[in-house]
Amino acid sequence: MNKIIFFAHLRDRVGEESVTKDAGGKTIAELKQLLSEEYALKLDSVMAALNEEFASDDEVIKDGDTVAFIPPVSGG
């Protein structure tokens, strides 16, 4: 299973800080597609992090990986 974490407006939309999904074997792009449909999210301009490191859309998620969706940042 995989922990999927949301931030900023995505967290507001989903209504949870994180959800658990079986995303092993899927690419980031495939997971984005799945979540976009389930929660009516727009994830085109959203980055993903795999185990706290930025990941490209074509990277494959392994069982146990933590995936975080990271909207454009606005710190500083």
Binding site: I5, F7, A8, H9, D12, I28, D44, S45, V46, M47, A48, A49, E52, E53, F54, A55, S56, D57, A68, I70, P71, P72, V73, S74, G75, G76
Partner: protein, 154 residues
């Protein structure tokens, strides 16, 4: 720890103290504060949220990038989270180097990189509403799925 996310007000001097070194001829300190007016719109307060564990790693990465680019640099960065009022300190960056030009340049580099790669978000609260900044307008896109290194002047 030279790179921190803090729920409590930042002690500016303690950030500066972390980069004191005998080899330094300069320390530059950047203090980011909460501005009241943005394009004429009045902010009441901000909420900063961070993906804390990753944010610390990305701050460490920025420190590493600076040490590679500017010889002899020492870096310390603390970013605040939670509710911040107007004039509150959101971020403190201290950089020491042997010569002053490098300390200025490296400090500028740090704040620009924070705005590119560190997972921290601010939610603006105005008199007539609230909004997470950085996404809804979709002015920033990441066609490759992650931020790319950019020149400072872009």
């Amino acid at each position: 720890m030279n790179f921190e996310i803090s729920k409590d007000p930042i002690d500016i001097q303690s950030v500066i103290d972390k980069v004191v070194q005998r080899e330094a001829g300069a320390i530059t300190t950047f203090i980011g504060t909460v501005r009241e007016l943005t394009q004429g719109k009045k902010t009441l307060y901000l909420i900063y949220e961070a993906y804390e564990s990753m944010a610390v790693k990305k701050l460490e990465q920025i420190g590493k990038e600076i040490k590679e680019r500017w010889d002899g640099a020492e870096v310390a960065i603390t970013h605040r989270t939670g509710k911040l009022d107007i004039t509150d300190v959101a971020v403190v960056i201290a950089v020491s180097t042997p010569h002053r030009a490098d300390a200025y340049e490296a400090n500028r580099y740090a704040i620009e990189r924070i705005k590119e790669i560190v997972p921290i978000w601010k939610k603006e609260h105005w008199e007539d509403g609230e909004e997470w900044i950085g996404n809804q307008l979709e002015t920033v896109a990441y066609p490759k799925g992650k931020p790319e290194a950019k020149e400072l002047n872009e």
